[in-house]
Symmetry: C2
Subunit: 213 residues, 2 copies
Amino acid sequence: MKQRSISNAVIERLPRYYSYVTMLERAKVERISSKTLGESLGITPSQIRQDLSCFGAFGQQGYGYSVRDLRRELGHILGVDRQYSAVIIGTGNLGLALIQHFQFEYSGLRLLASFDKREQLIGRTISGVTVLHSRELESFAQKHPFQLGILTVPEDSAVTMANRLVKLKVQGIWNFTNAELGITDPDIIVENVHLADSLLTLSYRMAQREQNP
Amino acid sequence: MKQRSISNAVIERLPRYYSYVTMLERAKVERISSKTLGESLGITPSQIRQDLSCFGAFGQQGYGYSVRDLRRELGHILGVDRQYSAVIIGTGNLGLALIQHFQFEYSGLRLLASFDKREQLIGRTISGVTVLHSRELESFAQKHPFQLGILTVPEDSAVTMANRLVKLKVQGIWNFTNAELGITDPDIIVENVHLADSLLTLSYRMAQREQNP
DNA sequence: TAGATTGTTAATCGATTAACAATC
DNA sequence: TAGATTGTTAATCGATTAACAATC
């Protein structure tokens, strides 16, 4: 398995491959060729083979890829089998939506707890996840280490809470707030879900479509 | 203003520029050079000038860009001044989170209503937005046309509701469900917020970091 | 075996960066 | 005016696609 210098473009396609072969495995499909996979995803077979070959040789000439094996390999590459633990910081509607509807197991994540500072929420258990008071974050972390913090607080507490996560030496922050967290520690990966940016690209394309019929 | 063939990479940087100059304008900054802007965003000045020049010449030699003008131009390019109208389909936690916390005005959007099929929600007004029954979607659309549908329903109703939006000739769908909507109509822009993919790229980088210290 | 399909090398294409004349 | 900074052209870099020998 060659390490290093995998381009962003490749990394962003991996989850799509993973999601598709997961679906195939559920549908009991046993093998898939880069040609067929490419047709389904709108990607050239060449690119798929090129992407996968960054990580090893998972296929077989004349046959294609074993769906089972490919899924396992992709899962491994994506870290799904690492069983990271996560907590949610901010149990508002967005936090609740994630607790109740997001399939954390799909990404190999265990959701340990959710935090909030509103007293009326503390102690409630939602879909098996207990809401704890934010002030207990550090003591909780000592007893139950976690690697990922999911930031769904209001924008004005974003930086404060992010810094507390940094102090706890989390490895990753999944940031749903619009705030720029300004984390400089190179050991912490921040993935921003910038909904406003997503909506603006949509708006751009809509506007474009109108101008060029 | 040159049309056509703006690359994806450019389009995805525009909202970042917009967001930054919006912040600058709020902070009463009057001018910005591609050099300074580039330093703030981690983008080369060359690229910023190249990107902007796809749409026109907004700067001034020896001076830079007027923050006010640049923001207005970017807003125009992104369609912010089009005042599109939108509705939310699915008033669960995610829909509620958007209604209560997402700044739709920032993208120039008017949120007209929210829909759900659960009787106990119908008629409630949240942050000024009324929840209507899903069955009234079509009659509502007749009286109050909208261009954008925001899809925050459970996965199993995603395709059905998307198709109803297509029939209503919306111009765009902002899809928060994990479902592949399978919309073929080339007049309808679909922007997928694939949270699972976002989390998996984060997981990948976390796993990578661990392997290469 | 013959047909299919991989992994990889080389060729092409597109996006980013550098350079600089134009000019405020 | 002199210094700064644009818009744009050319050079570089990287990513995608095509081609094909290897081989199941």
